[in-house]
């Protein structure tokens, strides 16, 4: 409701005598007057209408006198008295007296009315304002609700991230445990394979000697044929040639498994609990190794590593950050991937810049990639949790992650570490 609609008075609205005076005030005054002489008394408005009157005028020998009434300086009515012809001067005095009284009444009543009017107006306005402030209060309460919701979702998010970090830690532990279990059998497999290789070389050497000797002997023909047939049937030429190859390949595989297990263990930092000093370049190399299976065969990886000071941190968490971002980068393209890793040491910060030539991201995606559960990939490939966790980790380190990405232009992730605490490894 607007002020205008609620307003019952406009300060300054025009009034008439009938609004200002009442019969209760005027009639007793006029009746009093009759007692001292006049036969009749009237109060007339501007256009001569009788508003109030007392007494009757019947006889012929009657005259009338009148006196003006004023409202805000304007003549707005009059007092008329009727009386005997011979009482004119007396009537005039009485009329003058009554008009004076009524004029004073008009002024006083008007004042009272104006005061009341302004009160009413103010009360109405205060009501307006109260309603407005009530609305404001409601608005505030709503805002508060929104804030509480926001806070709740923040807490939920923090909780989810914590859960995720715990999960990652558990997975890391599991991986490290598995790696450890693999290490032992892997050790004897490798050493046995090495022995086996040596042994087989000896077998082959011995077989060759036997064959040579047998060839020189004059054996019964049947026996000689059987020898040759069996040799061919068993494909001994091929087997002898292939045995070495097989063993070399197996040993090579063993070496690779050993390396992967070592990287996995190092990457999980399972052995160094709490804060350790890491070399960021080494961590990046290691992650490329751990991810080697997922990196497309034709990918071009460029590394431009600066000399970096040792960086004390929760190594497991930091390598998770790299893992998440690099993992995302290598998933941007199935072929033709170009992945650039660069490290920069700049006075009091270390920067790790990871760029890909993938499809890039729209601004509304960029805005949300650090939200938990936000993922652009199909379900199963990513939990959408990685970047949120990475973001959280960097914040807790006093560092940050920035993204520069446009659709069609690839993405650049810049991870900045503050290095006041950097020490030499």
């Amino acid at each position: 409701m607007s002020i205008e609609e609620r307003l019952s008075f406009i300060i300054g609205e025009e009034k008439e005598l009938r609004d200002i005076l009442t019969g209760e005030e005027i009639l007793p005054l006029l009746e009093r007057a009759l007692k001292v002489g006049p036969l009749a008394a009237r109060l007339l408005d501007q256009i001569g209408t009788v508003l109030w009157g007392v007494g009757h005028v019947e006889t012929e020998k009657v005259l009338s006198v009148n006196c003006p009434l004023y409202l805000e300086g304007e003549k707005t009515g009059q007092i008329v008295l009727f009386g005997h012809e011979n009482r004119q001067s007396e009537l005039l005095i009485i009329a003058e007296f009554i008009a004076g009284t009524v004029n004073a009444m008009i002024v006083n009543n008007l004042k009272r009315m104006l005061t009341t009017e302004i009160h009413t107006t103010i009360v109405n306005q205060s009501y307006e304002e109260l309603a407005a402030s009530e609305a404001k209060y409601r608005d505030l309460a709503e805002k508060l609700e929104v804030k509480v919701e926001q806070r709740t979702s923040d807490l939920k998010q923090a909780h989810t991230i914590l859960l995720q970090q715990e999960k990652m830690a558990a997975i890391g532990q599991l991986a490290a445990g598995v790696a450890h279990e693999i290490n032992n059998p892997l050790g004897f497999i490798a050493s046995n394979l090495n022995s086996l290789k040596k042994y087989s070389e000896r077998f082959i050497e011995m077989i060759a000697l036997y064959r040579q000797t047998i060839g020189k002997l004059s054996l019964p023909r049947e026996t000689a044929v059987e020898f040759d047939d069996t040799w061919r049937k068993l494909k001994m030429d091929f087997i002898i040639a292939d045995t070495e190859e097989l063993l070399i390949q197996s040993l090579d595989g063993c070496k690779r498994v050993t390396k992967i297990v070592a990287d996995l263990k190092a990457f999980s930092h399972i052995d160094d609990g709490g804060i350790v000093v890491i070399d960021i370049n080494t961590e990046l190399e290691r992650i490329l190794n751990v991810l080697s299976h997922w990196i497309p065969a034709d990918a071009v990886i460029q590394k431009k590593f600066a000399d970096l000071p040792g960086y004390p941190c929760d190594a497991a968490a930091v390598s998770q950050v790299f893992l998440n971002i690099i993992q995302n980068a290598i998933q941007t393209r199935e072929s033709g991937l170009q992945l650039d890793l660069e490290t920069i040491h700049d006075r009091n910060k270390i920067k790790v810049i990871i760029s890909d030539n993938g499809p890039g991201m729209a601004p509304e995606v960029v805005k949300r990639i650090f939200d938990p559960f936000f993922t652009t990939r199909e379900v199963g490939k990513g939990t959408g949790m990685g970047l949120a966790t990475a973001y959280e980790t960097m914040q807790s380190l006093g560092g940050r992650i920035e993204v520069d990405s446009k659709p069609g232009c690839g993405s650049i992730f810049i991870i900045t570490f503050p290095v006041s605490e950097a020490v030499n490894v």
Binding site: I3, L7, I11, E14, L71, E72, G73, L110, K111, I118
Partner: protein
């Protein structure tokens, strides 16, 4: 405008004297009442005051008749200046046809003046009046006192605003009629544009001003 009744041939206009508490608004009206002729105006109505401070408003009504027979009434109001009477100020300001802002020239009152002017701007917009279209004059009152804002400073501040300003000593009666007349002139121009005071009602600006400001 409070009222315009074409059938009854009546137009009721409202002027408001606005300003900080004790800048001399009531004194302005008192002086107008003293200096101007009784013809065509009513008495000064001073509504209840508290320690000589206006709590409601003061009212000085004027009236005249245009050659066409249109009765024009101009009601001049003051508002209470104290901060706590903001509601009353708003109520009085409603439908105003012009405002005289009475500033206190004393150096100590600068802040009060500017706060009150801000309040005027705010309240004008609250009651739906456009400050750029509402006739407005400024009076720097109490020029008879010492330690007052110097005239050149007033000139440099107010000339760029295009608002007419007047120097006055309401107590001594100087500049009071000039301020009133300045405001009446602006109001005439405004009403004339909308209602054809001259074209339809034959009321000339000069005549209007002269009738409204005839001295005793």
């Amino acid at each position: 405008m409070i009222e315009f009744d074409e059938l009854e041939k009546k137009m009721v206009l409202k002027l408001v004297y606005y300003g900080p508490a004790r800048s001399g608004k009531t004194t302005n009206l008192l002086k107008l009442h003293d200096l101007l002729s009784d013809e065509g105006r009513g008495g000064l109505m001073v509504l209840d005051t508290q320690d000589d401070r206006t709590i409601y408003f003061d009212l000085l009504p004027f009236f005249l008749m245009a050659p066409s027979g249109l009765r024009i009434k101009v009601k001049v109001y003051t508002v209470p200046g104290q901060v706590r009477h903001d509601a009353t100020r708003k109520a009085v300001l409603q439908r105003a046809d012009g405002v005289a802002f009475i500033a206190d020239s004393q150096l100590t009152e600068k802040v009060n003046n500017s706060e009150s002017f801000d309040n005027l701007e705010k309240n004008l917009s609250i009651v739906g009046l456009n400050i750029d279209k509402t006739p407005l004059v400024i009076q720097f009152n109490k020029r008879d006192l010492e330690r007052i804002i110097p005239e050149p400073e007033i000139k440099t501040t107010w000339t760029p605003t295009g608002l007419p300003f007047f120097l006055a000593s309401a107590l001594e009666g100087n500049g009071v009629i000039e301020t009133f007349s300045g405001l009446l002139g602006l109001m005439y121009d405004n009403i004339d544009r909308q209602y054809g005071l001259l074209a339809k009602h034959g009321l000339e600006r000069e005549t209007f001003l002269k009738k409204m400001t005839t001295k005793r």
